[in-house]
Symmetry: C2
Subunit: 342 residues, 2 copies
């Protein structure tokens, strides 16, 4: 009888402890099961252990544990075209009946005909025109729903999976691992802030207010007697290259201690992160796995790419300044979540 | 012996429960001790109970429990002048030796001579000129430190207390009460975002990334070989009136379910908040307590004020649309935290 009670007491106290610290189960589980053993994984774990070790010389208070992640090519797939561009092209097709003039007007004509060569030739200006024509005119709430509806239907032609399943499993684990260690995780993307917000909470566990991205302007107006915002066909902010540290300062208000990217568009974000005092972690995903995903650079002799360009100069800067280059091929056990998750 | 064990078991289980839910002590403590009993306080409590009641028709998931607070006149004092303006005037005096031309140039001459009449006559343009001259040229980190240093020294002449102590105790309790009920609390202020970030975490428990405010532009550059941002003398965004819903959408990405203000500058934020579906709470602080703080409107016959103008039209809209007007005089037991906190 006595041991019976003793068991109860021990159990209840263990329960108290595990509820209080929430770590009983976690402590015995590998938080990064999709990462191969090696220097890359070690760099992550040793950084996290350093900055969370109370009393240690590299300790960082939880309020300052800010980690920023690029999205396209860092958290999810970006080849052969940015997902948001595929979305914009589908929108052009869907809206075409209301715009008979598009049949004869570039870049819409090219978009409708699937003429990617002419579309590419229209450059950033052409792409922006498509975005403005398909992303503006509605409220942010309606745009979010349009994005969600599209994401629920559209599938990548090569992998035959929804784009929200073509996220990198090792990065999902990294996000969770950082959050479990008191980090606040943010997306800092050249992509549209409202498009990313349509899935960031469900897919990455990152709430809308922790997404920084490019944006178009909005206008406050009374529509059908109801105060609302309307999206305007006018750029507000381009969150790319030098825009990334600027966007970080505007939205987050603190210099990150860890930053993750995969292209030259992330260079200034990583430089800005590394330039702060104390322990810092800067990582770049190198897409060197043509078999399981894609291989592109042109760093290290990988094929040239206009989408997610990773130049040799960036690679050299990374090596010189102690940034860590993640090799998809060597560092990741698996790329995407298991198909059962679809 | 048996009852002894039973006590242990009961105690351990109670401990487990209290650690898990964190409510054992709280449940027995009034979360809003500085609020008088009455309709205003009831409006807060019944709203929070409604939106947190699982299975209730007004239930709101924690991820959507967004509450936004104006700062000047809603969370802290704004009379006889906005605190940030007092800061800018002190900065003009401090920087004057490096700017001999200011002696003869308005609005700097008026600022240096304490000629508030001429300064007021220079209007918003004059004030902006002062802000640009005193808030730009440095990094955001340096500006934060300059602001912190000033806040640690400067005192309000009437109350002889630091401005960070002239925050409204009932609103501090409201912030905590909302957060304890799963709300994410944001500041949405016409004031400068970086100035507010210098104290929002310490004083309000609101981290830098949950502050929305007016801003000047920044530029990424390499300074002394170190990548950094520099504040430019150029407006980026005015977070006032229709700017508030726009700023909310840009930074938060969700329509708030509760919003708190005190002036016509907050009108659109409250309208936007109330226009959403489901239970909503919109509140305005009316400064009607000349004895303990200030009395100004001009709503309800209170003296006219250029700082924190609360018009009769706003008051009438509030009454018509079910917003709650907080009477400082009648609803608040005390205005500021006890002096011992200084």
């Amino acid at each position: 009888m006595r041991s019976h009670h003793r068991f109860f007491v021990a159990f209840a106290l263990a329960l108290a402890a595990s509820l209080a610290f929430g770590t009983l189960a976690l402590a015995q589980t590998d938080p990064l099961p999709s990462w191969n053993d090696g220097a890359t994984r070690d760099a992550i774990v040793s950084f996290v252990e350093k900055v969370t070790e109370e009393g240690g010389s590299d300790y960082v208070a939880p309020a300052d544990r800010i980690a920023t992640f690029d999205n396209d090519g860092t958290l999810w797939i970006e080849q052969p075209a940015y997902v948001q561009l595929v979305f914009a092209l589908d929108r052009v097709k869907q809206l075409a009946p209301q715009h008979p003039e598009w049949k004869d007007k570039q870049p819409f004509k090219a978009a409708l005909e699937g003429d990617m060569k002419t579309l590419a030739a229209s450059g950033q200006k052409g792409i922006l025109e498509l975005i403005m024509a398909t992303h503006a005119g509605m409220t942010p709430t309606d745009f979010k729903q349009i994005s969600k509806d599209w994401l629920a239907k559209a599938k990548d032609p090569r992998f035959k999976r929804h784009y929200t399943q073509l996220v990198y499993q090792p990065m999902l684990e990294l996000l969770s691992y950082l959050r479990a260690n008191g980090f606040k995780t943010f997306i800092v993307s050249g992509g549209g802030i409202e498009f990313i917000r349509a899935f960031s909470e469900d897919i990455y566990g990152i709430p809308p207010d922790q997404v920084v991205g490019s944006s178009i302007k909005t206008k406050f107006e009374i529509r059908d007697g109801k105060p609302t915002l309307v999206r305007l066909p006018e750029m507000n902010f381009v969150d790319d290259k030098t825009g990334k540290p600027i966007g970080i300062n505007q939205h987050i208000g603190q210099r990150p201690i860890a930053a993750f990217g995969n292209s030259d568009g992330d260079r200034q974000m990583l430089e800005y992160t590394k330039a702060g005092d104390g322990a810092r972690l800067a990582m770049l995903v190198l897409h060197d796995d043509a078999k399981r995903e894609y291989a592109y650079g042109p760093a290290e002799g990988l094929p040239d790419s206009k989408v997610g360009t990773f130049t040799q100069a960036l690679y050299d800067e990374a090596k010189k300044d102690g940034w860590v280059v993640i090799s998809m091929k060597n560092d990741w056990k698996q790329i995407f979540p298991p198909p059962s998750a679809d």
